[in-house]
């Protein structure tokens, strides 16, 4: 898929929608409306939009505990997502999943996942399904650099390569495994270097640059779709907030975070790229931000006004029940 102004504008818009969604969710936790925890995606938006801009509606995506951005980039509705974070009946998962399990199966977004590295096998499985059925759907798995330490990473990628499955493994390496810098617990710096063990291409990209992500993923998706097998892409990125709510972040300095926000904000990087090409005027930019802001305000209002789940919901969806569906 070639890069067009339209595509760039879509990525730019989605980055703002993600950024504002996360900031609103954070605000709602302070109001006591969003409970549990929140793993904010701010700073990493270029990865989700750069990947999903290459995907069709019927392509499969599985995510992580930090997946609000993946869901929005794949097309999920922000109002239903916010309602899910509130635990309301109108949420994407009817209030049964919460932040770590947001999913929209109508978009083949098969869910965030609360267990690190747990989506890699299932994404390889959706790719296996496509291969058996003979469709040209591509599966994309997002996971963090911490997941590369898990056995599921090795077991699943080994099978993805063995059977040449149409899957793209996207590692979001934000440098921290919860509270621990990657370098303290991993000898291999770049997760992309691990691709050689499975005889698949491994590429490391600047995950703050949506264009760079888009172009590398375009090649990996084209390879997967045409039967060329899997790829492992490492997007080197940075999270602007802590691991989750209440993270004191003693493992990094405020200066480091401020420097990254100044020099590596993915929104600024894409804005500069588009401005240079006269693809985005300042009026366009204002409009994008205004619209995204309005959407997220509406989402919060929708969530707030939505009803709580009925008590009977506790016992439904444990197993399939023909009566429930009928």
């Amino acid at each position: 898929m070639s890069l067009t102004q339209e595509k760039c504008l879509k990525m730019y818009t989605d980055m703002w929608r993600i950024r504002l969604f996360e900031e609103e969710a954070n605000r709602q936790t302070n109001l006591g409306n969003v409970v549990g925890t929140l793993h904010m995606y701010c700073g990493e938006e270029a990865v989700a939009v750069g990947v999903c801009a290459n995907l069709r509606d019927d392509d499969y995506v599985l995510g992580t505990h930090r997946s609000h951005g993946h869901c929005i980039a794949k097309g999920a509705q922000s109002d239903k997502m916010m309602a899910e974070l509130f635990g309301k009946a109108t949420g994407t998962c009817r209030g049964k999943g919460g932040s770590m399990h947001v999913a929209d199966f109508s978009l083949n977004m098969l869910g965030a996942n609360g267990i690190v590295g747990a989506g890699i096998g299932p994404t390889t499985g959706t790719a296996l399904a496509s291969k058996i059925r003979g469709t040209d759907q591509v599966s994309v798995c997002f996971f963090g650099d911490g997941a590369a330490a898990r056995g599921t990473f090795h077991e699943a990628i080994a099978m993805g390569s063995l059977w040449q499955l149409p899957v793209v493994y996207v590692c979001e390496n934000n440098g921290y495994q919860q509270w621990v810098p990657r370098k303290n617990v991993a000898v291999v710096d770049s997760v992309a270097d691990m691709a050689g063990s499975y005889s698949i291409p491994g590429v490391s990209v600047n995950g703050q640059d949506a264009i760079e992500v888009y172009e590398v993923i375009a090649e990996a998706v084209a390879r997967a779709r045409s039967g060329g097998g899997p790829s492992l892409i490492e997007a080197r990125t940075y999270r602007f907030y802590g691991h989750s709510l209440g993270d004191e972040q003693q493992y990094r300095t405020e200066e480091e975070v401020e420097e990254r926000k100044r020099n590596a904000d993915p929104i600024n990087i894409l804005r500069d790229f588009m401005t240079e090409r006269n693809w985005l005027t300042s009026a366009d930019d204002d409009q994008v931000q205004q619209r995204a802001g309005d959407e997220i305000t509406r989402a919060a209002k929708f969530a707030e006004e939505s009803p709580w789940p009925e008590m009977g919901e506790v016992g439904t969806d444990v197993l399939f029940d023909a009566k429930e569906v009928a």
């Binding site: 949420g91 999913a103 869910g111 096998g121 299932p122 296996l128 080994a158 399939f320 429930e324």
Partner: protein, 323 residues
């Protein structure tokens, strides 16, 4: 009706379901070479090319792929060579397969069958002989199925493959060669429907898996003592057919619950507790459990004799509830 061995009945069910539905496929270690470790997957590669995958030794990967393929609308039938190895894939079973439908508010369906050859077989000691039914009974979202005869094996496996939710399918290794009459063609046994394997008046013996056959042997011996025992085979431990079990208990008032697994926090214990709760006033004697002691499976044949319950254990348990 055709007489066949338990593993042949399972194979027939698998072949029939694969012919019926193109979304059914097989995955597991060594499932093609030599027709699989237990010959259950024999012939699948020839008859259904492209629908059987011989995997690396990677249980978490295998079950993880199964979860994804199932969510994408396929029906994976996974073989875990020895049940003991499922511990390497507990996240995939417990946190993924079992929870997906609930966590997604009903969007996900994981129609996956995990076949679990279990129990003592050849003498392979503590890491190749476990049963662990109750581990999975404890997890909402999983169905736990334990066939005891070739016919039940066929009927329950066909239902398992058609189920929209994950099934943990227990196959006791020592029963693979047991023979019995099996209905031809379409034969489905619903989950949550216990089977009264022998009718009797004096004692209800609830028997799981191979304990059904051992209880039938015990019943013959007990006849000589003048005791007429009823044998109820739950067939599925989750869902559990409490109605059929309680009906029998109300009739006899005396209960023995038998399984090969350790009875401590085991499948028999849940059944015993359920009966105590639901039928206390019908009981004429305390419930007795028959199971293995709470020890790992030893290697030596002499020691194994003291672990795996046999017909004699059922006989003495019946004598206890009758005394």
């Amino acid at each position: 009706m055709t007489v066949m061995a338990f593993n042949e009945a399972l194979r027939e069910a698998l072949h029939e379901e694969m012919a019926r539905d193109e979304s059914v496929f097989v995955m597991g270690e060594d499932v093609i070479t030599h027709g699989g470790p237990y010959k259950v997957t024999d012939g699948v590669a020839e008859k259904f090319p492209g629908r059987i995958f011989e995997t690396p030794i990677a249980e978490a990967g295998i079950v993880g792929l199964g979860v994804g393929a199932a969510m994408a609308g396929m029906n994976p039938v996974i073989e875990i060579m020895y049940l003991d190895f499922i511990t390497c894939a507990m996240d995939e079973v417990v946190n993924q397969a079992a929870k997906m439908r609930y966590m997604t508010g009903g969007q996900a369906s994981v129609p996956m069958v995990v076949r679990l050859p279990c129990g003592v077989g050849r003498l392979l000691a503590a890491q190749h002989s476990q049963i662990m039914e109750s581990w999975f009974m404890h997890v909402p979202g999983l169905q736990v199925v334990v066939p005891s005869t070739p016919a039940d094996g066929k009927g329950l496996l066909k239902t398992a493959i058609r189920s929209p939710d994950p099934v943990m399918f227990f196959e006791y290794k020592r029963t693979y060669t047991h023979k019995g009459e099996v209905p031809e063609g379409e034969y489905l046994i619903p989950f949550g429907k216990a089977d009264v394997k022998r009718e009797g008046e004096d004692v209800t013996v609830i028997a799981i898996g191979p304990m059904v056959q051992k209880s039938l042997e015990a019943a013959v011996l007990l006849e000589d003592e003048g005791y007429d025992i009823e044998i109820v085979d739950p067939r599925t431990l989750s869902p559990l057919d409490t109605e059929t079990i309680c009906e029998s208990v109300r009739k006899t008032g005396r209960v023995v619950v038998c399984g090969e697994d350790s009875s401590f926090a085991g499948s028999v214990s849940e059944i015993a507790a359920m009966i105590a709760e639901s039928c206390f006033s019908d009981l004429k004697a305390p419930i007795v459990r028959v199971g293995s002691p709470h020890v790992p499976m030893p290697f030596s044949a002499e020691l194994v004799k003291h672990v795996v319950p046999e017909a004699a254990n059922v006989v003495s348990a019946v004598n206890r509830v009758m005394s």
